[in-house]
Assembly symmetry: C2
Homo-oligomer: 211 residues x 2
């Protein structure tokens, strides 16, 4: 319990600093391969012209995700946990040192691909978002409820593959709303673009709110 | 480190008991929604006539997976970790008390959906297997190497969806072999049946080896 206490204290300090700098910070989570990096690639393409975005990438090993984000022209830093299953505030604090924080509107932290413990560790973020891909199955909200309870928005990704799955979108949406009545549930396809406008508007609203 | 030490001691004792009973035990892992339960449903349908199989299901919450396995007629017990991100030997030991272990040939333990820490906790198994679905992306072996290093077999599932993904099967296979040269890499479709014969033969060989 002490670990969470220390983590929360540091996260609170970071959150205060982000508030002073008027930067909206999002903690982006989801299973391995749910589409978090693809979502960020599409988001950077659409929004880099109207807001200044930096990305912190979290993975066990490799800089594969940061390389993809860097190719979009955004500030990016890769955290390697060397086997750790989630990011914590200390790792993010260290990564922030490689970013130029002045003049930023949005920082997105892509957490380690894991539908379990990342939801328990605050990183100083203003909000959490979870990406659930339809190919994972519609039972995930009920089986991994904490992630959905903590997330302000649930992006149901890869809707282009819906015709090839048994994913029940109304049921999954209802389950998420049962777990977290205030959550926004956004069906999207990060590769085909379906529903992405609603996601971009959600981000625009949050960034404006911090200005 | 002490936690792993205690866990390993218990796991070793269980492994010895399984050896005495001549039961082959498999620890089945993979991301949430990679297809572990679907694989077991298809495996039970194909092999229940020739070998006596029990399944231990591990999830944070719900008995959804055990209910699916129970409908196949196999002995099954559901472990709920109440938020824990992996199974450990103590949880499995407790679950074993609800199974009739006499006359079993095979026990499959479906671990919590998580590509990270389950690979670190021995459960008394003879071997580990990892299910990677093509919809998760071909970068997973390099990004989550421990899981592939520990697994004797990597099942590349949902090959029926290959035409709709950018998954590079030869590259993923090469990466797995680089991480774990002795691993068997089996492309399968748990729902369509492609490649499943090779998987069934792999299991037959292991069960016979324990007889
Ligand atoms: N069909 C389809 N595929 C998608 C979509 N979004 C992502 N993908 C594919 O899903 C795979 C995984 O995408 P990533 O963006 O790397 O997933 P991730 O969540 O960042 O994965 P990790 O960082 O390893 O946890 C890739 O092959 C993507 O091309 C989508 O909307 N539709
Ligand atoms: N197209 C296709 N879908 C599959 C295949 N195998 C599983 N699925 C689907 O993938 C989704 C998840 O399957 P599950 O078997 O529940 O996955 P799991 O790994 O047991 O999930 P957790 O226990 O929650 O970690 C379901 O919608 C299945 O129908 C396959 O070979 N092809
Ligand atoms: Mg990623
Ligand atoms: Mg399952
Ligand atoms: Zn963790
Ligand atoms: Zn764990």
């Amino acid at each position: 319990q002490d670990i969470l206490g220390k983590n929360d204290a540091l996260a609170d300090a970071m959150k205060a600093d982000f508030a002073a700098r008027r930067i909206f910070v999002l903690n982006l989570m989801g299973s391995p391969g749910s589409g978090k990096t693809t979502l960020m690639e599409a988001t950077l393409c659409a929004l880099s012209g109207e807001m200044r975005i930096a990305v912190i990438e979290g993975d066990l090993f490799t800089s594969k995700d940061a390389d993809r984000i860097g190719a979009c022209g955004a500030q990016v830093v890769q955290i390697n946990t060397a086997g750790g299953c989630h990011l914590d505030a200390a790792m993010v604090e260290k990564a922030l040192q490689s970013l130029k924080l002045d003049d930023l509107d949005l920082i997105v932290i892509e957490n380690v691909g894991n539908l379990v413990c990342p939801a328990e560790f605050a990183l100083g973020e203003d909000a959490k978002a979870v990406v659930l891909s339809v190919t994972e199955g519609d039972d995930k909200p009920m089986k991994y409820p904490l992630m959905f309870k903590e997330s302000a928005v649930a992006l149901i990704n890869k809707t282009d593959l819906l015709p090839f799955t048994n994913f029940d979108l109304p049921q999954a949406t209802e389950d998420i709303k049962t777990i977290h009545p205030g959550a926004a549930v956004l069906p999207i396809s990060a590769t085909k673009g379906d529903g992405m406008d609603v996601w971009f508007d959600w981000l625009r609203g949050k960034v404006k709110g911090k200005r």
